[in-house]
Symmetry: C2
Subunit: 384 residues, 2 copies
């Protein structure tokens, strides 16, 4: 096991009817900016519920944060906060709104051009406004971690950042908030959480026994509830999806073990360049990535085959093939297509995607820093 | 799944040579009380290492905190802190020292007789001195939770308390600190962590899928490393034991699911009355407890049998019997005896033990509040 630090101070308030708890969670004298997305929080009543719970506090609203939140939009929130001297942020939405709120929280106090926060992956952040979240879409885990991803429209750059200063102070997880989600977003949430775990698990063994067991437990749970999420999302399925997605990326299963994240970095270029849903880019890239790098991931692929998919028959090569095939089938069973051509992207697109990876410094990816642009190219070719 | 809150702000610094990190973790102007136990931290050099890392800070020391720390001893530390106006506590030791430090941290600022903290199980604690820990004995999980247990010698009372104010700010987990531990303490650590997980898992099903998987992962890991802890504790075994024991009781596997804890409460009376090691009381009480309450725990016992012990053959009764037997054998394989008569305690002791449970308000124990004194009596009789 590697040495590690683990520190996650976010308070989770989990259960139905918990939005009312905002009244005790947000400081009584706070001047609050409520940030939300494209309007679903307005339509389904969550926004009204939030505003009601905040009572007589000074409140401003900022709607319109996009899926894959943009620097351009978020900087308008930063200006509003500075103008109105607001001092507490409340994200109401899914990963995009929470990621965006993290960036806004850090950018308000940033000395210099805030895009530097992303260019330096968060290393230059020294303070941030306090904020909380009301989660409406289980997927990214942003509600209980200190990372975010922001896109700059003008340059088609989608970059991640993280900082110990951008943990939410609290997150409210009410499984009933998922009742109005369309199947596409629920399926994306399952695929996103699944891939988050795989990025922290399917690398090489370091005797992180409990990290492996926890990762396998999350993957098994997603495999069990995945079909029900689309077809029969009862109370328990919704609750489990919400808690699993949070735990998939709260720092715990990745503490003390190698991490990959090359699938995410390659996937980000597909979203930035073609607007494909984040989770769908992962479902395209992951099976191909595991196939191309099967040698360096051999031992963990065999463990994954046995413990997650119960594949024990056949040669090592057959078991690895079967595990990768089951991974692809799992995504497809969620109505998520797993080939670039399903998204009308052909081989001719690959040069530009590789150029963008290089432009963003993504030239030594993966747990072994061996996913060079050439390896990324082979992964994309295998994704066609 | 039940509604829940989860909040664990303790920062974990895990790895070898991490004691030196105290210099950045403890405030530079802190007036520190270093608390430790019976002298092993002095003998093996950890105390010197800690004092060295604290540099030129104002430091006082308080040694002699017992296994099963006593109110009488801890109140002397409280006096010293008040006299010397110390403002930061550093526990160097195992669960007893950390539990004791939590009590001291809460008692210093307590208005009134601090024994009330225990009589009210921590509910009256409104503030505490900040503190951190350097863990030397993986077992209790106290290094990453907000609970403790204190014994009052004069009345043979051993009572638990918890409060959101007594999370350690940080805990340093250096697996090499376990190198000098005697086998008895290592075995106790395995049994203690195992029982902590069981208390939060072996109740009744509520569709807490990931909590179950995490609990089973911790138990499987303890079953795998248990024998090696005694016979071949290499670097990886030590590291895994330390991290598993911490995760066994940091609030995570118990969030949103029923919890039992009757084995602990009955065990506490055995320690208070007869001085038996805490972990050994658990190994005595747990198999009998599972046997007596097998009906109410039936579904989880069957799940435990299958997922932890891979018992799939036989009738339900046979599988439950086998799982309980494997649990007992596991403790015995750690050189821990699992019968009261192994500790020279006979049936004539049971009346007094039940009377103590009643005196401490322990009359409705367990996940169903149905472990009355009569049920506790049957459990003790089955432990003979």
């Amino acid at each position: 096991m590697f040495d590690f630090e683990f520190h996650n101070p976010t308070k989770i308030v989990f259960g139905r009817q918990t939005v009312a708890r905002l009244d005790t969670l947000v400081p009584a004298n706070a001047r609050v900016l409520v940030l939300y997305g494209g309007g679903s929080a307005q339509k389904n009543g969550t926004l009204d519920e939030v505003l009601g719970a905040l009572g007589s506090r000074e409140i401003q609203q900022f709607g319109g944060i996009e899926a894959n939140p943009t620097y351009e939009t978020l900087m308008r929130a930063v200006e509003l906060i500075r103008e109105q001297k607001l001092d507490f942020l409340l994200a109401v939405g899914g990963g995009s709104v929470i990621d965006g709120t993290k960036f806004v929280a850090a950018a308000v106090a940033y000395q210099g051009e805030p895009w530097e926060i992303l260019e330096t992956y968060g290393a230059k952040v020294t303070q941030a406004l306090p904020f909380g979240s009301v989660l409406t879409l289980p997927a990214t885990g942003s509600e209980m971690n200190n990372g975010g991803v922001v896109t700059r429209k003008s340059t088609q750059s989608k970059l991640p950042f993280r900082s110990p200063h951008v943990f939410p102070q609290f997150s409210i997880l009410d499984p009933d908030k998922t009742l109005t989600l369309p199947p596409r977003q629920l399926a994306n949430g399952v695929a996103d959480a699944f891939t988050h775990v795989v990025e922290q698990y399917l690398t090489y063994p370091v005797e992180g026994r409990v990290q492996d067991r926890f990762a396998e437990g999350l993957l098994q749970t997603l495999v069990e509830i995945g079909p029900k999420v689309l077809n029969d999302p009862d109370d328990d399925v919704r609750a489990n999806l919400m808690w699993v997605a949070t735990l998939a990326l709260n720092g715990l299963v990745g503490a003390g073990v190698p991490q990959d994240w090359s699938t995410h970095m390659i996937g980000h270029e597909l979203t930035a360049g073609y607007g494909i849903d984040h989770a769908r880019t992962l479902a395209v890239v992951l099976p191909a990535n595991l196939q191309i790098r099967r040698e360096s991931k051999r031992r963990k692929l065999l463990q994954y085959a046995e413990r997650v998919w119960h594949i024990t028959d056949g040669s090592e090569e057959q078991r690895i093939d079967a595990a990768i095939e089951r991974t692809r089938s799992f995504f497809e069973s969620l109505d998520i297509r797993t080939r670039l051509h399903d998204y009308d992207i052909g081989a001719d697109a690959i040069d530009a995607l590789i150029a963008q990876l290089e432009a963003h410094g993504m030239t030594r990816l993966g747990e072994g820093k061996d996913v060079t642009p050439d390896v990324s190219r082979r992964i994309l070719e295998a994704s066609l």
